[in-house]
Symmetry: C2
Subunit: 381 residues, 2 copies
Amino acid sequence: MTVVGIIAEFNPFHNGHLYLLQQIKKKFPQATIVVVMSGNFLERGEPACIDKWIRTKQAMLAGVDLVVELPVAYCIQPADRFAWGAIKILNELKIDYLCFGAEHAQFDFSQMAQKVAGIHGNFQKFNESYAAAYQRVVTEKVGHPVDQPNDLLGLAYAKACQQLAAKIQLVPIQRVAAAYHDQDLNPRQKIASATAIRKAWQQADQQVSNYLPPGSWRIIEEQKPLTWDDFWPWLRYRIFSSTPLQLKTVYDVAEGLEYRLQQQLLGLPMTASFDDWIKAVKTKRYTYTHLSRVAVSILLQLKQTEVERQFKQPYLRPLGFNARGQQVLHQLKKQTTWPVIVKVGQEEVKKIIEVDYRAGKVYELASHRPQDLKRSPMIIN
Amino acid sequence: MTVVGIIAEFNPFHNGHLYLLQQIKKKFPQATIVVVMSGNFLERGEPACIDKWIRTKQAMLAGVDLVVELPVAYCIQPADRFAWGAIKILNELKIDYLCFGAEHAQFDFSQMAQKVAGIHGNFQKFNESYAAAYQRVVTEKVGHPVDQPNDLLGLAYAKACQQLAAKIQLVPIQRVAAAYHDQDLNPRQKIASATAIRKAWQQADQQVSNYLPPGSWRIIEEQKPLTWDDFWPWLRYRIFSSTPLQLKTVYDVAEGLEYRLQQQLLGLPMTASFDDWIKAVKTKRYTYTHLSRVAVSILLQLKQTEVERQFKQPYLRPLGFNARGQQVLHQLKKQTTWPVIVKVGQEEVKKIIEVDYRAGKVYELASHRPQDLKRSPMIIN
């Protein structure tokens, strides 16, 4: 059995993702396709536009055999930690290949990873973001710029594979058409960025359906995509009803940020949005994305100790599978020492997925659909 | 200058309150009338139906000369502590008389207070509420039942006066017509309970205007009364996004209640209301009202230390006054060592009214009107 892994958010599942699956099926016609997918909060520090169950269904309708949830403590991290968490799970699932879209599929990601292996955290200056400083050093080491979002993610995957000594072969797939940050739909193409799709969907632009597989669109067309605006009332309440000391207990809130987060909010009018607030807090050092991740941590009351625990005590939570995916799970259960969470009961909540359960309850405030308790994986054949 | 004090919530100001003022003016035609009024959260553990500024205006239009805010840490307490806080403020304001409505104005409240002076806290059984146990002991000591809400409050005022050695003469005024807990309007009378008025107002019952002075009604008729339902989304979020350990840091959450509050919530459907939740948590020991007060403390993140600080470091915050009321304030400023907060700036927020400021910000979530920062007392002549 050949097993191919993907790391994804599917926010929402669109033609670009379908294209990636098609390329995989061309290269590995017999392979089982396994996805590690972020739950309801995502890498750029934002809520998913639709819940993890619907996104799982979209992926499976498009040919994915098994979807496993990436725990929230990994989801809302910068690329390196996000990649580390996802690769750790895929490695436990014993995938043979990791396929990922890249702006430059010709790059030798493993080799690049070796060249930058020595780079570690603390080269950040106070007037420069981590991302900017990191890219500067990578360019020096690699010999050419690596500055496209998917290339950078690919590099992060390659680094994680090396750190974890994972026997996973990297298969970059050339991305086509849309750039990651494209804001608008391009009517001459069938592939658009998730950003452009969400924006058009938010505005009820009928064109949006052209950019998703029909099956994917059908199960979400009646819904409105969730955004930070939907969670802002709770975040706002949490920030001004907490003391700076309480805010400081949240993951990644430090160095006086606890005061700045609150003071900037109190200085804004009551009609201010999430975006207004982040822009008011933003500095050269604290980027929009970094602060958005902090905002998720505050919303979910994620603590340093909880993040550490999730990094030390991983678990596997399948969200959906078909007969082929089930085989991978059967194989897994014979080998792994990790807990495999199939149905979520009170015991699982208390002992294993407390943080993800809390994230689900918060997500339910806006999605109005139960996320975890008593839910079993979707079986779609 | 004769100064008469009242302790009130005015939730909202109605004909019963007007009747009390009229009786006072009959007895003390030249007196200045000073009110200590709860802010935006009230004694029975609920948000005020309209904000403190509107209620202040209502009271002043009806003849009150000075309204001083009762800090929130006193507001949401059982009768004895509520009374203690209010009397402490009125005593600092050097009132001569305290007038209050009573079901039995013929009771000698000062004498009753002496008889029950020895009763202290911890006679509570696990299957009995504090209120029930207290009334049982009071009946024994006094020789007859004291079981009507306003009589009990009067007794609490009398006890507080004795504890604080306040030179305040108590003037009970016979209540007429409505009982405190009446749920419905009685079309044959002009006075109804605040409970019945809020209920009718909530249901947009046109009759409600008959039970308020015209001036009081005019300034609120365009509004909807706020209830717990308006704050429930935030409370609910706070409860399930906190660990039991975090809940336990809140004032009056102890003895395992932190688990019960959360567990009962998680067992309810997502459509459950505040009322459903309280009823699910309720036991013989933890009454509806006690739990409602705990709910306010959780919503506002009120801590034990903050309550203690408010009890130890009192302050005076006028919300409104006329020329006569201003004389009382002038007199006060010459004598008091307490801070008198007129305009609220960042310094006052940080050093003195941090908790009330937070309560105001939370109240604004539903009232959408700024409550504290940069607000000065209303001057109505």
